[in-house]
């Protein structure tokens, strides 16, 4: 489990991808909220769905421990 966060002298790539994806997703959602007339509920639902899909994809693409 510890390899998920730290491996071979750097942050684990899975953990790193998770942090970067979450932060970038947050900024993109903020931009989308300002550019469209979407309601806060719809945009939150969209953000959560996208985030869950992205995390699943990260876990599938980057095996933990790398």
């Amino acid at each position: 489990m510890s390899k998920l966060f730290w491996t071979s002298g750097h942050f684990g790539w899975t953990f790193f991808a998770f942090v970067v994806f979450t932060a970038l997703g947050f900024i993109v959602i903020d931009l989308l909220w300002r550019l469209t007339n979407m309601g806060i509920r719809k945009i939150t639902l969209m953000a959560l769905t996208g985030w869950v899909a992205g995390i699943i994809l990260i876990l599938l693409v980057i095996p933990s421990g790398h």
């Binding site: 942050f11 790193f16 900024i27 931009l31 300002r34 550019l35």
Partner: protein
């Protein structure tokens, strides 16, 4: 070691982005501002806050003071003196009043609606609300309005352009004087912040715009006079 360096740099950039977001909220952060259209880039609530504090973002002022070239259309029409939204068109005491409301994001340089000669430049200060202010909705609706009224002799007859703003902004620049000849679409002045421009036309003028239309200074034909071509 290289991998860790890359990771730390990327994480620092993300931390800066998130801190910038938190500091700017609810307004857009510096990082995303450039990709937003003007209304989302500088929201109205933020501009009103600046207006109260008398402090503005330099980027907003740069946008606000823009003065693009405009080419009047061919033909004999009277063109709009300002960018904005038509909010009123009514005849009062034999004068047709066309009211154009300017938002914070509209271009604020006014242009002559027709070629002619300036015969009068009137300044009306705070006190005029006791007089004609009672009569006109476009004045009553403004908080302590101040205005400049430019009267011009044109081939269409006497027309006038009123540049109105509220006491909060209360700065109007007029760039023409009595006796000056003006071309159609020539720059005649500028109102600084939230404002209204009223075009006074002879009652025979036939409007080519309606309430709710958006117009552009020096470019959008707003009226013509029957029999004159």
């Amino acid at each position: 070691m290289v991998a860790l360096g890359i990771q730390i740099v990327l994480l620092l950039i993300l931390v800066i982005a998130l801190v910038s977001w938190a500091i700017s909220f609810p307004y857009p952060s510096l990082l995303i501002r450039r990709w937003l259209p003007p209304k989302a880039r500088w929201p109205e609530a933020q501009i009103r806050g600046w207006l109260a504090d008398r402090k503005f973002h330099r980027s907003f002022l740069g946008y606000f003071y823009r003065d693009p070239e405009r080419t009047p259309p061919d033909g004999p029409s009277i063109v709009s003196p300002a960018d904005g939204l038509i909010t009123g068109a009514s005849v009062n005491q034999n004068v047709l009043y066309l009211v154009i409301a300017l938002s914070f994001w509209d271009m604020h340089v006014q242009r002559s609606p027709a070629a002619g000669r300036v015969v009068k430049v009137e300044s009306k200060g705070d006190g005029f609300m006791d007089g004609e202010g009672r009569e006109f909705a476009f004045l009553r609706e403004k908080y302590c309005p101040v205005q400049q009224r430019l009267v011009m002799d044109t081939r269409f007859g006497t027309i006038a352009v009123r540049l109105i703003t509220s006491i909060a902004a209360r700065r109007i620049e007029t760039w023409v004087e009595e006796g000056d000849a003006v071309d159609r679409g020539q720059r005649i002045g500028r109102i600084l912040l939230g404002s209204t421009v009223v075009l006074e036309l002879p009652p025979l003028a036939q409007l080519s715009v309606r309430v709710g239309d958006r117009v552009r200074a020096g470019e959008t034909p707003v009226a013509c006079i029957m029999g004159l071509s």
